[in-house]
C-alpha cells in the first residue's frame, strides 16, 4: 500500500484537491482510502463517502491535532492495509502552521492557496518546508503576476519540492498531480519505528493541563513572556 500524507492550512483546498486527484487515480484502476484528521468538526468524510471511497475520520478534540496524528498513524495504516486499498491518503489541517505530520520516507504533500497572501511561505514552518510536493490552489482568482510571485516565494523556502498548481474546482492540474502520488514500488505495511520529519514544539504549561485562570501565579511549566520594552522586538 502507498501511504500519502497531505496537510495544509485550514480552507486551503485540501479536500477538493484530494477528491479531484483520486478521480484520476481510480481511473487507473487503483483503490484509495482516506483518513481525515481534524480538531473539532469535519463533514468532509461525507464528501469522501459520496465519492465512493472508504473513509475514517479522527477528531482530536481537546488535543493538538498533530500530536493526535502521531499517536494514531500506526493504527490508521493498519486499517488501510486491512481494507486492502492500493493507496491510503491522510488529510490533516495544520492549524498553527508550525508542525507537520510528515514522516521520513513517506510521501508528503502540502496544499496552500494563492489567496493566503505572499508572506504565507514565511509563516508556514516544516509543513511547507519539508514537503516533497507543494500544491498551490485558487490560482484562478488571482492575477498571473500574483501567482508567479507566490510560487517563486514558495520555491525559495523549499527548492527541492515539486510545485504544482491545481484548481480544486475544475480539476485542472489534478491529473498531473495524480502522476506524482502513486509509485508501484512503494509498499508501506507499517509505520512502526518511523520518525517524524520535524519535532513538535516542546510546550507543556499549566494551560495545557486545563488551567483557565489568568495571572502569573497560575502559570507553570514551559512559560515564556513577551518583551514589553520600548522596542518592538
Amino acid at each position: 500500500m502507498n501511504l500519502i500524507t497531505i496537510s495544509g492550512p485550514p480552507s486551503s483546498g485540501k479536500t477538493s484537491v484530494i477528491i479531484k486527484t483520486i478521480e484520476a487515480v481510480r481511473q487507473r484502476g487503483l483503490t484509495v482510502g482516506i483518513v481525515k484528521f481534524d480538531c473539532l468538526y469535519t463533514d468532509d468524510d461525507i464528501l469522501y463517502e459520496k465519492a465512493g471511497v472508504p473513509v475514517k475520520k479522527g477528531l482530536s478534540g481537546s488535543l493538538c491535532p498533530d500530536h493526535y496524528f502521531a499517536s494514531n498513524i500506526e493504527e490508521v495504516v493498519r486499517w488501510g492495509n486491512v481494507k486492502g486499498v492500493d493507496m491510503l491518503i491522510t488529510e490533516s489541517a495544520g492549524l498553527c502552521n508550525r508542525c507537520s505530520p510528515y514522516l521520513v520516507g513517506i510521501k508528503a504533500i502540502c496544499v496552500i492557496d494563492n489567496l493566503s497572501g505572499i508572506n504565507t511561505p514565511k509563516k508556514i514552518g516544516p509543513m511547507l518546508k519539508t514537503a516533497d510536493v507543494i500544491v498551490i490552489t485558487k490560482g484562478d482568482i488571482v492575477s498571473q503576476a500574483e501567482r508567479e510571485v507566490f510560487a517563486s516565494r514558495v520555491h525559495s523556502v523549499n527548492p527541492t519540492a515539486k510545485i504544482i498548481p491545481v484548481n480544486g474546482l475544475t480539476g485542472q492540474g489534478a491529473y498531473e498531480l495524480s502522476t506524482l502520488v502513486y509509485s508501484k514500488e512503494e509498499n508501506t505495511e507499517s509505520v512502526k519505528g518511523m520518525e517524524l520529519r520535524y519535532p513538535m514544539p516542546s510546550a507543556l504549561c499549566s494551560y495545557c493541563l486545563g488551567e483557565t485562570r489568568i495571572g502569573e501565579e497560575f502559570q507553570m511549566g514551559n512559560v515564556r513572556k513577551m518583551k514589553m520594552g520600548e522596542n518592538n522586538d
Binding site: 492575477s143 498571473q144 503576476a145 501567482r147 517563486s152 514558495v154 523556502v157 484548481n167 498531473e176 502522476t179
Partner: protein, 337 residues
Amino acid sequence: MIEIKDLEVMTIGDMEKKYPFVLSFLENNKLDTTNFKETTFNDYLEQFHPDEFEELALDKEQIKKNLVVFVNQMLSFLGMDKDTVESITILPGVDKNGKRENFDELTINKSEIISIVGPTGSGKSRLLADIEWAANKDTPTMRTLLVNGEIPDHGNRFSTSNKMVAQLSQNMNFVMDLSVREFLELHAQSRMVENPGEVIQRIVEAANELAGEKFDMDTPVTGLSGGQSRALMIADTAILSTSPIVLIDEIENAGIDRKRALNLLVNEEKIVLMATHDPSLALIADKRIIIKNGGIHKIIETDENEKVILKDLEQMDLIINEMRARLRSGETLEKID
C-alpha cells in the same frame, strides 16, 4: 555545480554580491543577516543556539541543503539559453468516448490568436491543461504537444521560473494590498529583470492605453476598476511574464479596449489562446477550435465573410461602450443612426 563547501566559506556579503538572488532565499527563510555581512555562512549558522533554530522551526542541515539546491537552480535558470517558442503543435488524441479527434495536426505560430469555443464542460479546461503540461500521450485525452515541431523537455514541468504558459483567468481580482508600483516591483523582482524601473514604466503606459480610465503608479491595485485591473494584468503578462504562451479565459467587454489588448500580446510575440463565448472575440482570432464532448471537433479558419461580420460586431461593441460612457457622465441617450 556549486557545492555547500564552496558556499559555507564565503562571507555573506560576498555571497550576496556573487549571487544576488540569495537575498530572497535568506529573507523568505527568516534569516536576518544584517549584522553578519563579514561573517562566513557557516559561522553565521554556527552562532545560533539550537534552541533558536527550534524557535524559528528551522533545521540547520536543511537550510544548507536547500541553499545549495536553490543556488544551482537559479544559476542554471539564469544561464539557460531560453529557446524561443516559435510554434506549438497539437497532435490529436481522443474525446470522452475514446473516439479519435477530428483533425490531423494543429500548428499555432507566435503572434497568432486562436479562439476556443464550446459549451461549458466540453473540455476547454482540459485542452488548456494539456498545453500547460506539454502533454505527451500521458493525459486523459492522449494528446501530444510539440514545441517548435519537437517533443519538448518534460523536466521543466514543475519549474516555477520556467513556465511555458501564463494564464489570464476570468476572475481578475487582485488580492495584494499594494500600490501599482509596489505590485509591479514585486513581480519584476521575482522575474529577476535587470532594469525594473523602465519595465514598470512601460507596463503602466501600456495598461493605460488599454484602459478606458487612466490610473497612476500610486493607485492601490485593489482600488482599480474591473477594466483597469484587466488592462494592468494583460500589460503585465505581455511585458513581464516570460511564458511564451498566454491562455485567456474570456475578456469582459467593459472598460478595456480588447482589440488593443490582444494586439499588445501579439506584438510581444506571444501565442494567444482564448476561450470565449463572445462572438467578436471569437472572430478576432485567426482560427477557432470547436470543442465537443472532450475533444477537438473542428478547426475553422476565420474567413473574409466572417471578417466583414466582425466589423459589424465591433461597431455594435463600440455603440454599447459609447452609451456606457455617456450614461456614466450623466447624459441622457438618444438613438444613434
